[in-house]
Every structure is written in structure tokens, then in C-alpha cells.
């Protein structure tokens, strides 16, 4: 197999002709086509927002990049350093596991934390996983939870006791502590009230200045307008349009109305 190379210098994530088809063997072997040849790239320090109607393939794309879904075809190139890139699709499971959390992160809409673990512990462990020493991780976890206004009395209770919005903030704190070079965000603020949403969006906004490449799905146009440097509109599992927020959103509003 020939080694695929990311051509553009500052691009850290490049998706090439990615397909994801689900074969539902339990339901008359039906085939559901979620992605039909998506190509896109995200540069370091760039925030790319994915837009499109529900079912357009936004979440499927994020999950296929992270390999929670196993892509049917295509490649996902991740730059590890200036000289090296790997195709996530062709790595073995054990190889991929070494990159998760450290080089590529995924913040879902829901906290998928292990049961009976405290918010503070979850966030701190995420920091340790990315190479922080224990004390630094502790400080950073405290800072991060404070920043997202998580009440201190909740820091050491079981995370499963938290409300939806609280869980979401824990999730975001864990995902953004010493952030990996590529961060996938799947509706990270969907359950937050306006005040908390504001501080969460502010936090996400600082990621790009740290050189993180962000690929995000938001359900509200306001967040996209504010954070995205570029918007990619998906339709039927394909890239329908991409451009600056102003261009893309006027295009999108045309579709939506």
C-alpha cells in the first residue's frame, strides 16, 4: 500500500473520500448510507463547523474519524509531527487506542464516563493521559471545572448523579484539558443554560489560539457564526458547500427555509 501524505503544510487532519455504510443484518440486511465520499481538511488553529440537517451525516463523520464507527472506505489522515502522518482507518485497534485521547480527542453530547467516578477524577485523569504530571493535572482540572462554573460541592461525587448540563461541562472540561492537536466536538453545549453556554463557548474559542484543530457540530447557528473559521455543509452524507461562516450560513438558511 502506498503511503498517503498530507500535502498542505499546516493541515493536521485530512479526510479523503470517506464512506460509511451500515449493513443491518438483523433487519433484512438493509444498507444505510451515512457518508458517501466526504473529503475535507482542518488546519492547526482552525475551527471548522459542520452544518446540515439532522441525518446529513455530521455525527457519523465525527464518529468515523474517531473510529467509533469503522469507515467502509476512504482514509482519515492525521499528522503526528511535521514529517509524519498516519491513516487512522488502516491502523490496528491497538495502535489506534494509543492515539485516542492523546493525539485526537472526541467530546460527545453525553458524558460517557465510567460509573462511580467523580468529575474531578475524570478531568484529572484526562490530563494525566495527555502527559501532565499528577499535580499539574490536579491544578488544571480544578481550573477547568471552575472556568465552566461546575459547583465545587459536585467535584467529588459520582458523575452519574449530575444533571445533563453538568455532565456536559465535565465532558468538555475533560476534552479540553491540555487539548490534543485534533479535537472533535459533537454538540458540546446542547444542554447548557445561556450563562453556562457562554463560558463553554468562550473556552472552545480559546482552543484555536492554542493551535488545536477543531472539527465541531453545533445545533445552533449563533455558536457557528461566533466560533467557526470555516463552515462545511453536509447533505446526504456528502459535502454540499463550504466557505466562510457568512457565505455558508446564508446558503444554509436558504436550504432551511
Amino acid at each position: 500500500m502506498t503511503q498517503q501524505i498530507i500535502e498542505q503544510k499546516n493541515v493536521v487532519l485530512e479526510v479523503r473520500d470517506l464512506y460509511k455504510h451500515f449493513f443491518l443484518h438483523t433487519i433484512d440486511s438493509r444498507c444505510v448510507k451515512a457518508l458517501n465520499g466526504v473529503s475535507l481538511s482542518v488546519a492547526a488553529g482552525e475551527h471548522v463547523a459542520l452544518a446540515g440537517t439532522s441525518g446529513a451525516g455530521k455525527s457519523s463523520l465525527l464518529k468515523s474519524i474517531y473510529r467509533t464507527y469503522k469507515p467502509t472506505n476512504g482514509s482519515v489522515l492525521l499528522r503526528l509531527d511535521p514529517e509524519t502522518n498516519v491513516d487512522l482507518v488502516s491502523l490496528t485497534d491497538a495502535e489506534l487506542a494509543t492515539l485516542r485521547g492523546t493525539k485526537i480527542g472526541y467530546v460527545s453530547q453525553f458524558l460517557r464516563a465510567q460509573p462511580r467516578r467523580s468529575p474531578f477524577d475524570i478531568v484529572m485523569q484526562a490530563g494525566i493521559q495527555r502527559g501532565m504530571d499528577r499535580q499539574t493535572a490536579k491544578d488544571a482540572a480544578a481550573h477547568s471545572l471552575q472556568r465552566l462554573n461546575l459547583d465545587e460541592v459536585l467535584w467529588d461525587v459520582s458523575a452519574s448523579m449530575l444533571s445533563g448540563g453538568e455532565k456536559q461541562r465535565v465532558n468538555l472540561a475533560a476534552g479540553t484539558i491540555s487539548p490534543p492537536q485534533v479535537l472533535l466536538l459533537d454538540e458540546p453545549v446542547s444542554a447548557l443554560d445561556p450563562a453556562n453556554r457562554e463560558s463553554a463557548l468562550e473556552l472552545i474559542g480559546t482552543l484555536t489560539s492554542q493551535g488545536v484543530a477543531v472539527l465541531a457540530v453545533f445545533h445552533d447557528i449563533e455558536a457557528m457564526r461566533r466560533l467557526a473559521s470555516r463552515i462545511i455543509v453536509l447533505r446526504n452524507g456528502q459535502v454540499d458547500f463550504q466557505g466562510s461562516p457568512t457565505e455558508a450560513l446564508s446558503n444554509l438558511e436558504g436550504v432551511a427555509r
Binding site: R67, A94, T98, P115
Partner: protein, 284 residues
């Protein structure tokens, strides 16, 4: 050099097979998931496991899932040496450059492996423990097998282990048969880690326990995996156990591995028809 390399394996299973009875000429082709049976219709032999391969690294837990009769426990027992495999190899890495093929060892050497290299935690504590012996005595047995002779040192280590697995020390001199199910399981865990083996096999470690007791035992196992950096194999039909403890999984059906995947991928995007059925049943 490859840009990304997985950590070196500590336990490697290669094309492991276990057949009960005599296989007929086409016995392998006539069994398995496609045929829908493990039984060789000609000779009546049972192909409990066939062509099973996987690797586990230190600090990593691999899940083995499948319904009862799929061959999960057979694979476990072959690795542990409780059963003699029909074919294949099980290798363990003892040092950086040294590997052992456990089927080439004598029975005595294999027993020695069980003392300090591979420990097993069984679903039924009666399999892993002497029920008439005290908790302390049960833990002393792997220690004496490893050469510990000083009574107070053994007792000291036993109480340290019981403390770690949260068994009240005032029960140390009671026979294990007087313990509750959850506490028996904790004694089994203490015994399993007594000599700090690099590999621990968990065979349905929480099945049959009350939900609250199972949760405590699971938390303890998770803590031990992290603290000791164990290479672990977790056999379970319970996806919540698999999700909590493992990063990768294999799915077994009629003695064969039908799918191997990252745990989150198996739960969200199972590929094999059998895995899809299994996951949808568990998630309904």
C-alpha cells in the same frame, strides 16, 4: 519504522483450538457460525474453540464476549492451563526478550506459571478458593508456593492484600465458606494478585452478584488493573462490565472469533450479524 506502534504484547494467543472428542475429516468445516453449530455431526465431537488469536499488552484489558456455549471460558481455561488445547499456541513474554510457549512446558512448569505469572479469577469462588480454609490461609497458598516461608511475613502480606481488596481484617481467620458472595470474590481477587502476576484472567467476575455488590467488585477490579498495569482478559456476557473494563474486544460465536473491535466501536457499530444481534439484545 512505523509511526504508530501498539505496546508490546505480554500474552499472545495464536490459532488456539480445543475440541472435545474425535474430529471427523470435515469436522472443522462442518462447525462454526456459518453452520450454526459447534457439534461435528459425523463424529459428535464438540469444537469448543477454533482458530482463536489475540494479543494483550500490559495495562490493557481485552474483553471476550459471546453467549453461553460460545467458547469464551474454554479459551480462558486453555490459557490458564486448566485444559489442554488441541491446537495452537499461547505465549507469554516474561522479559523484554524472553517468551514462553506455555504448551511446550511440563505440567510442573505450568503450575509454576500459575503461581506468579498468570492468575485467574473465576465466576464461582469455589473454583478459585478452598472453601474450608480461612481467608488468610487461601492467600498464603500462592505465597508459600512462591517461596515465602516466614509466618509473620506471610500474615503481613495477606492482611495487606485483604486490606487492598476491602475485606475486613477481623474475618481473616474465618473459613471462606462463611463469607458472602461478594466477599468471597474479594478474597479471590486478593489471592489472584498475591504474587503480582503480570497477567490476570477474569471469567465472569461479577456474574451472580447483587447489583450493588457487583458494582463494588467491579470498581475494585478497575482499580487493580490501573494500579498494577495488568494485562487482563475479561470474559463476560455483560456489556456494562465489558464497557467499563476493556478497550478492545473479541466476539465469539460457536467457538470462533467472529469480530474483533475497539469496545466503543463494537457497541456502536457492530459488523458481524451475530455481534449486531448480541449488541441490540443488550441495548434494548
Amino acid at each position: 519504522m512505523k509511526p504508530v506502534t501498539a505496546p508490546d504484547w505480554v500474552l499472545k494467543v495464536e490459532n488456539l483450538g480445543k475440541v472435545f472428542g474425535n474430529l471427523s475429516t470435515h469436522g472443522i468445516a462442518n462447525t462454526g457460525p456459518e453452520v450454526g453449530t459447534s457439534k461435528d455431526s459425523v463424529s459428535g465431537a464438540i469444537v469448543a474453540a477454533w482458530d482463536v488469536s489475540f494479543e494483550v499488552a500490559a495495562g490493557e484489558a481485552l474483553g471476550v464476549v459471546g453467549e453461553s456455549g460460545s467458547g469464551k471460558s474454554t479459551v480462558m481455561r486453555c490459557i490458564a492451563g486448566d485444559q489442554v488445547a488441541t491446537s495452537g499456541a499461547v505465549k507469554i513474554r516474561t522479559t523484554r526478550n524472553e517468551q514462553l510457549d506455555i504448551f511446550s512446558l511440563s505440567a510442573a512448569e505450568r503450575r509454576q506459571l500459575r503461581v506468579n505469572k498468570i492468575a485467574v479469577v473465576y465466576q464461582d469462588p469455589a473454583e478459585g478458593l478452598e472453601m474450608n480454609v480461612t481467608a488468610g490461609g487461601n492467600i498464603a497458598s500462592p505465597l508459600t508456593a512462591a517461596g515465602w516461608r516466614n509466618f509473620s511475613e506471610i500474615r503481613g502480606r495477606a492482611s495487606e492484600l485483604l486490606n487492598r481488596t476491602e475485606v475486613p481484617l477481623n474475618r481473616m481467620d474465618d473459613a471462606v465458606k462463611s463469607f458472602s458472595g461478594g466477599m468471597r470474590q474479594r478474597v479471590q481477587l486478593a489471592k489472584a494478585i498475591a504474587n503480582r502476576p503480570p497477567i490476570v484472567l477474569f471469567d465472569e467476575p461479577t456474574t451472580g452478584l447483587d447489583a450493588s455488590v457487583a458494582a463494588g467488585v467491579l470498581d475494585l477490579i478497575r482499580g487493580l488493573l490501573e494500579e498494577y498495569g495488568l494485562a487482563a482478559v475479561v470474559v463476560s456476557h455483560d456489556f456494562s462490565v465489558i464497557e467499563m473494563l476493556t478497550t478492545r474486544c473479541i466476539v465469539m460465536n460457536h467457538g470462533r472469533v467472529v469480530e474483533s473491535a475497539l469496545t466503543d466501536q463494537l457497541l456502536e457499530d457492530p459488523h458481524h450479524p451475530y455481534s449486531q444481534k448480541l449488541v441490540s439484545a443488550a441495548r434494548a
